[in-house]
């Protein structure tokens, strides 16, 4: 295999999974020797998700219409899609609002109206501020996913295990305690 075209994106998550990715420490050098980071909020400054990506780690649940578009774009342009962390795998904390009737409206009004000190208003700007979906969804609910990395956040050794398997075998599969959620 030539150099791996490697990407990461984050949707409705807290960035914790990406912070854990940075905990790979010196393994990041090994990865950099074998992969080009073609898109990533922590590893590149490229605005447009490119074509022909080999692997993409997706952090976060699909929470708004922008997340949904991003997930579809990733799927269209990527060979191996990895659900990265509990929010991507299950919805997790991002999906807590799903248990509240009319949750999308309720959380927005709680955050921007009830809790606001100045100028209470729900931010709205077509094409700029994304709209919340009725439910926050795991990534596999909207696109096919190839590999799952549970964990909130997944510990660095778990991420490393997946990346190493991908480098060696082109795909990955976790087992045993490496599957622990939370």
């Amino acid at each position: 295999m030539g150099r791996l075209k490697f990407a990461t994106v984050w949707l409705g998550g807290c960035s914790g999974c990406h912070m854990s990715f940075l905990d790979l420490d010196e393994f990041l050098f090994d990865l950099a020797a074998r992969a080009d980071v073609v898109y990533s909020p922590v590893g590149s400054d490229i605005k447009e998700y490119p074509e022909g990506v080999d692997v993409c780690l997706i952090e976060g649940a699909v929470n708004n219409d922008e997340n949904l578009e991003a997930a579809k774009t990733v799927r269209d342009r990527t060979r191996l899609v990895v659900s990265f962390g509990d929010c991507a795998v299950s919805g997790n904390v991002t999906a807590l609002r799903n248990t509240i009737p009319d949750g999308a409206r309720m959380v927005a009004s709680r955050s921007y109206l009830e809790q606001a000190d100045l100028n209470p208003m729900i931010p709205q700007a077509e094409g700029i501020v994304p709209t919340l979906l009725p439910l926050a969804l795991p990534v596999h609910a909207v696109i096919p996913v190839d590999v799952y990395i549970p964990g909130c956040p997944p510990p660095a050794d778990r991420i490393k295990a997946v990346v190493q398997q991908i480098l060696e075998h082109g795909t990955a599969h976790l087992e045993g305690r490496q599957l622990k959620m939370g």
Binding site: D86, G91, L96, T99, I100, Y148, H173, L179
Partner: protein, 238 residues
């Protein structure tokens, strides 16, 4: 004491006639996953985690409620059983709101461990996201319906070991909930002795000691079995 001979996963073994398939398997060091079963309590066969394939029966039977019989040939790890077990665990996760990252039982939860054991890397079913209440009206304990798997271990521990029968199950299907007394706040229960046996018996984060936060709940689930053995056999052993 009559003895039966049977075969489990190709191993020929003998068991006492009053034993269940689960007990016989455990004595022989063959692990079968369980959830609603807890040593010291009666068995109800509620969760179906322990289903096994007994040749000639034409259906799968729970090992925890099935008595051994002479000549039984039992399989506990067929592909079919393994796929059903994973499905059962996934359905439990889909039915309530299990968010391990913010759960009091994270790291010491039988449901979480089962998910690992059956290789659950994601849930293939749609989550139901039910609206569930949390009851913290009791002085010492809390009940979070989001995490309850309806195993009824609390109900049996309270009834059979403490003798209070504070707990019961009300409602049907996905609307079923454990209740205290006449479906009233736990703190107002007149039968609850505050012994905490239900909390120790509970496999998940549904019953917890108040004041504990994420990943702090560490239960001693063998306490129930210890008490019952002590009571019935006058043996103070774990």
């Amino acid at each position: 004491m009559a003895v039966k001979t049977l075969t489990i996963d190709g191993t020929l073994l003998s068991a006492r006639e009053e034993q269940t398939v689960l007990q016989a398997a455990r004595d022989a060091g063959i692990a079968i996953p369980t959830l609603c079963q807890l040593d010291g309590l009666s068995t109800v066969g509620a969760c179906r985690m322990c289903l096994v394939d007994i040749e000639g029966t034409g259906r799968l039977l729970p090992a925890c409620t099935t008595r051994v019989a002479e000549g039984m040939v039992i399989h506990t790890k067929t592909e079919r059983l393994q796929s059903y077990r994973r499905m059962i665990v996934e359905l439990l996760f889909a039915e309530r709101n299990h968010i391990c990252a913010v759960c009091v039982a994270n790291g010491a939860c039988e449901l979480q461990d089962l998910a690992i054991e059956v290789g659950m890397d994601h849930v293939r079913f749609d989550y139901l996201h039910p609206e569930c209440s949390v009851d913290i009206s009791h002085k010492r304990f809390g009940l979070d319906h989001n995490r309850c798997v309806l195993c009824t271990r609390c109900v049996r521990a309270c009834d059979e070991v403490e003798g209070a029968h504070t707990w019961d199950v009300a409602g049907r299907g996905t609307a079923a909930r454990v209740i205290t007394d006449m479906a009233q706040p736990w703190g107002t229960s007149e039968t609850c002795t505050s012994c905490g046996k239900c909390v120790q018996a509970c496999p998940t984060g549904a019953l917890f000691i108040k004041g504990m936060t994420v990943a702090e709940s560490r239960k001693d689930r063998s306490e129930i079995g210890f008490l019952v053995t002590a009571r019935e056999k006058k043996q103070w052993v774990v």
